[in-house]
Amino acid sequence: MDNAIEVRNLVKRYITYERKGFLTKVKRIVEALKGIDFDVKRGEIFGLLGPNGAGKTTTVKIISTLLLPDGGYAKVLGYDVVEEASEVRKVIGVSLSVERGFFWKLTGRENLKYFGMLYGLDGERLKKRVEYLLDKLGLKKLGVADKLYEEYSLGMKARLSLARALLLDPEVLILDEPTLGLDPPSARALREFLVKLAHEFNKTVLVTTHNMFEAEMICDRVAIIDEGRILSIGSPRELKLKVADNMALEILILPSVATNLDKLVEVLREKTDVTCSMISDVNGYRLKLIVPPNRVEELTSISVRLLHKLGCSVRRVEVKEPTLEDVFIKITGKKGF
């Protein structure tokens, strides 16, 4: 079985009541998920990327066995999240909110011990696991393992939340916005830890986020979700290529004294058949070619050969791809307020 998580045609509707008067309410049905499909492979970090209200948390809660779907199914390691919820619970670790979910009057260590026991760990095994996680997540190093949870910063709470998700050493981790509100160093530390978990310890990580940078940094594959529908799935690079009409190929050159710069641009235009411009740079000259994504490699090699022939030394070649944010905006069509 290659897939750790399998989601097919998942549907979820919420019934809400809107108050219209003192005694009258109007029933409203909100379609949170409109039949989504995706798979998460074993050992990969899969990101659910979407704006607020897109259906990310609903999806995560269904996969975590905390919410019942109205249609379709989801499986974790082959276990159905509705029919075999107890089996699913044995193989997942969940972190839903980094801000809440612990006893405020207990220390980090005490909280972990309590949840460890609740999850069936005991004795030496529990003690070892708690110490290991406090150490791995840096809470010992920060000197806060024995501080009350109410004194924790958001970054420390996030670490503790991840530690709890890892108590049973689960194969699949389900994390809802794990870096939300964290300062950059804490967010980076957490991201690095997640990558290590997936790539060194072969854990499958399903993570939701609306942080494009984060998704690009850590996710092997990403699904863009909006208004209860998956709009696109692929690796960050695949998604970028999908939406990119053109890419910028930038070549930093040092021309020889004899090189006619105007002619150089003209020849490049002629040979490559793409838009080409040149600006001076403190380190030399920067040539910019606007190239279609499927011809990046071909045109890079033609240009470099040509530049050498014309007596230029090529210092650096850069392909400027669109960011995941560009992809997201293009796919969802959302530009903000």
């Binding site: 905390l66 919410l67 107890s86 969940v94 839903l96 612990f102 009057k105 005490e110």
Partner: protein, 273 residues
């Protein structure tokens, strides 16, 4: 469910309470003075309406009113405690954002809620009953004081059994609704009224009396009264009430085991976990 799992679940409850007490000294002090505060309130209120001799005259027995109120206070506090703690625990966990992590534990939620609460109940009740021992010895002598204390311990332990299931039913009801605190606020006093805690069930309209018969708290209230009058030997009714409580324990715990799953499912369907 395996014994090992039950043991760790019970231990998790003990651990949680020990941590709370260790980290909250004021909580510990409050726990220790709470029974005497309650007793003071009950006795004080009682004296507002009449003297100790008038009390003896009214109930027709030669007993110390304070000893009487000790017993009724303990048993009533135990009943309220079970209902509030098991039912209220769901709210507490939901407010703290802990409920999802309890649900993803590999036990049924009803079992987690009930079993992790049992050690806390037994521990706090034991402390509170034993706290009254010196007072009872002072008022009634060593033998009577110790006997009354032991019977009170038995009563609060047996009385707990049906209340656990009853309160878990409460918990499932709380799970299903959104404005949960309102329910706990009005349901608890109503249960106490129907149980005859404030007004004898024998004087209630017939339909209220019928309802009172299915409430376990009715029998714990009666047990409290009998224990309070233990100066005159009444072991037969105590045994009878304990029998009823045991029977109700079976019924309510089976019902709660079945229904809390339905409550959990409904909450999970509506997305209010």
């Amino acid at each position: 469910m395996k014994m090992g799992k039950i043991r760790t679940l019970l231990k998790s409850g003990i651990l949680l309470d020990l941590y709370f007490l260790k980290n909250n000294k004021s909580n510990l002090i409050a726990m220790l003075i709470w029974p005497y505060l309650m007793l003071g309130l009950v006795v004080g209120m009682g004296f507002l309406f009449g003297s100790p001799s008038a009390f003896k005259r009214n109930i027709g027995l030669d007993i110390n009113p304070i000893a009487y109120f000790v017993a009724s206070t303990v048993v009533m506090m135990a009943s309220i405690s079970v209902m509030w703690e098991v039912g209220g625990n769901v709210l507490f966990l939901r407010w703290l954002g802990i409920l999802p992590y309890v649900i993803v534990a590999p036990h049924r939620m009803s079992i987690t809620l009930v079993l992790s609460y049992v050690p806390r109940y037994l521990f706090f009740m034991f402390i509170q009953v034993v706290e009254f021992l010196p007072l009872l010895v002072l008022l009634e002598g060593v033998t009577a004081g110790v006997i009354k204390t032991l019977i009170m311990l038995l009563a609060v332990t047996v009385g707990m059994l049906p209340l656990l299931g009853f309160s878990a039913l409460f918990a499932s009801l709380l799970l299903m609704v959104k404005e949960e605190s309102n329910i706990l606020n009005w349901l608890n006093p109503i249960v106490l009224i129907f149980s005859g805690a404030l007004y004898p069930t024998s004087l209630m309209p017939y339909w209220m009396w019928l309802v009172s018969r299915v409430l376990p708290t009715t029998y714990t209230v009666e047990l409290a009264r009998i224990i309070a009058l233990i100066g005159s030997p009444q072991l037969a009714p105590i045994t009878f009430l304990i029998g009823i409580l045991m029977g109700l324990a079976v019924v309510y715990n089976i019902l709660s085991y079945m229904l809390i799953g339905a409550g959990e499912k409904r909450a999970m369907k509506r997305g209010i976990i």
